[in-house]
Assembly symmetry: C2
Homo-oligomer: 417 residues x 2
């Protein structure tokens, strides 16, 4: 089965909106084992959209559109698809009912225009939208080809795709798919590629890398006639990946929502520990990442932002003479920040970060990117010295990831760093 | 002049990379007054890429590619364009010299492969790359049509486009362009659209909205034969926008790098004030946003993360009886958090945030989204009560924006909130 993504909207051509829908859909289709060879963006123009439909349908079995399902004259997605199919749009009562319900919920006046959102060609399967007023649709286009219409807003498109389109595509393919998400910190994409290249060339299960700043996620996906058979294909691959990468793997999950912050919070919670952070160059990012994990309140007590030098003394109790003697960016000060914070907040573990995020302030001995992450527990303190590269944002973000990995490690979770 | 963007790379079709290049290029082209009607993504496949070039060149004068300029066999971007142009690739010595220099800088071994990166069709204008080993190129394709090759990594593509491609496009168009970026907080896209629709329909200057969470940016762009003439077209439009929107405009800048955090830091710096934050639901995000502004060290002293209830007493000195009496999510506690932080850190202004980010914890009286932002100065304290909607991430992010806007306002900058 070949799919093609067609995103519709002049706001995309103007660069007013970042096209996250294309990435979301590509990622999900790829996990379903469905090939795609083209993605296209067109504006709200009837002639160009018609040509785009005809071209996409000549190349693919399933054409997935996003956007243009609203009630205004600009919203031509369904009308042009109907024209290409040689069909008329008719009112679907269950779609009308859904739209009326949504307007009641939102306490908004429904206009006559909105009824156009309930109109589709005959034989369409309507996809109800729990998060907005525009229903989606699976529209037969002749032969075995279909166009699938999805609304543009990602918080409407994403659940509709996962809950209603994926089951349709899976049923159509007659296959079951299962995936695992392998999260890696402490090894770069190139090094991972070198070690796993032969595994990444496999076709069932597949193994694909997804990279973000300082982290790589691998997705392992197996397909088989039943879910159980697909599940059985995964363990040998996962064992092999574990054997080759070792401790840099910090989690293997059934979904892709994992993060270093969640791993740290879960590990601390499992141990019954509380934590706190004392942050200079990261200015609150470590605490914010921890607090972003649902359920963090049992673990995260609070923290200090100690940006100006004397606040490290005032808030975290770092002796001023120590700062004078060793410099504010030093292993000693990082450890004292963590220790002082641990004591003052009475937590089981505290983490600290002091360093040079740049662009100014570097010296030959301490270049920009010099960072010390301190870790203190009731048993003592230690420090992780880092020599990071890149711009201010990158240095701060990598520091946060190292700090989170140290918290997880201290709580007993094996994490590289 | 019509342009078309062609992004090349199987990693985009797999969803492994978010296509920020397409948005960057669309936005810049739109600011240059250059129309685009299609964007396409294709993988590293010779036949499909050749068809994509031919289609794009049939529709556009300028085809801009991103990706596929590396030294490996997968990198076919230049080779296929040469085939479409009916030309051979030849070695360009200045490109070879650039690549050799880059390898010396990176202290890496150059391989024979890398020389392929210095090969282009005759009459190509080479675009040197200060941030990587792949030069870009402006390649004549017959008639007045060109293909412009840019490297895939955004930190290479973006400066190359701004510094080398924009001057070429401007010279080619014979026009000069100037823009202003109008930043708005406290009014939604729909309300702005209602007030400015006639101005957004104008063609010179143009006025285009760019939306992000809780904020709208408008770009006003004028074009004329000279920069001076273009500049002269902007003031009447800017005056009209100011008259219609008023205080919701918090900045009008010559570039688009502004933010509420920068406006707050600049306003505080101009007044010679220091600041601090005391954060519960935002968990450090307010401080992190302030510290993210270069030059924040003169203004941001530090701050508290007071996530667990008793840390509001321990760190910020909020009386435990007050929390007991009014609830931890209350106007009184928000003000006391700000006042205690202001005193303990001895700053001119402190801001605080306490509230319910959800998903759990809401009640009929205090639903999820109930947030109080406290502001304390040496003159006293006040509170901004908010009733926000959306998920946890949205509620936290909007709280940060309100807190930043309050800091800016307190420092004397007129900002709505």
């Amino acid at each position: 089965m070949i799919a093609e993504i067609l995103c519709i909207g002049t706001e995309l051509l103007m660069g007013q909106v970042l096209n996250t829908n294309a990435q979301f859909l590509s990622r999900r289709l790829s996990a379903l084992g469905i090939s795609q060879y083209h993605q296209t963006v067109v504006g709200d123009n009837a002639a160009r959209l018609e040509a785009a439909y005809r071209l996409a349908l000549s190349r693919a079995d399933v054409v997935i559109t996003s956007g243009g399902l609203g009630p205004t004259a600009d919203d031509i997605t369904k009308r042009i698809a109907a024209k290409v199919a040689g069909q008329e749009l008719v009112l679907f009562p269950e779609a009308e009912e859904m739209i009326r319900t949504r307007f009641r919920q939102y306490r908004k006046e429904m206009t006559a225009n909105n009824l156009s959102q309930a109109m589709f060609t005959p034989d369409t399967t309507v996809l109800l939208n729990p998060n907005g007023t525009a229903p989606g649709a699976i529209v037969p286009m002749g032969g075995s080809k279909v166009v699938i219409h999805l609304p543009g807003p990602p918080f409407e498109l994403e659940p509709m795709f996962i809950d209603q389109v994926e089951p349709y595509l899976l049923q159509r393919s007659g296959r079951a798919l299962v995936s695992r998400y392998i999260r890696i910190f402490g090894m770069g994409e190139a090094a991972i590629d070198l070690r796993l290249r032969d595994l990444m060339a496999g076709s069932n299960p597949t193994l694909s890398p997804y990279c973000s700043l300082g982290e790589v996620m691998l997705r392992a996906t197996a397909s088989a006639p039943t879910k159980e058979e697909a599940e059985a294909l995964l363990p040998p691959l996962l064992d092999e990946v574990r054997a080759r990468l070792g401790d840099v793997i910090y989690a293997i999950d059934e979904d892709d929502s994992g993060s270093l912050a969640r791993v740290a919070v879960d590990a601390l919670k499992a141990r019954g520990w509380t934590c706190a952070a004392c942050e200079s160059l990261t200015g609150g990012m470590i605490s914010a990442a921890l607090v972003g994990v649902p359920g963090a309140s049992a673990v995260v007590r609070g923290g200090f932002v100690t940006y100006q030098t004397d606040t490290k003394t005032l808030l975290a109790g770092v002796p001023a003479e120590m700062i004078e003697r060793f410099d504010v960016v030093s292993a000693e000060v990082a450890m004292a920040m963590a220790q002082g914070t641990r004591e003052r907040l009475d937590v089981d573990v505290a983490v600290s970060a002091t360093g040079l995020a740049g662009p100014d302030g570097g010296t030959p001995e301490k270049p920009v990117g010099t960072v010390f992450v301190g870790i203190a527990t009731r048993a003592g303190a230690r420090v992780l010295p880092l020599a990071l590269t890149g711009n201010r944002e990158r240095i701060r973000t990598l520091t946060v990831k190292h700090a989170l990995s140290q918290l997880a490690k201290e709580a007993g979770k094996r994490v590289q760093g």
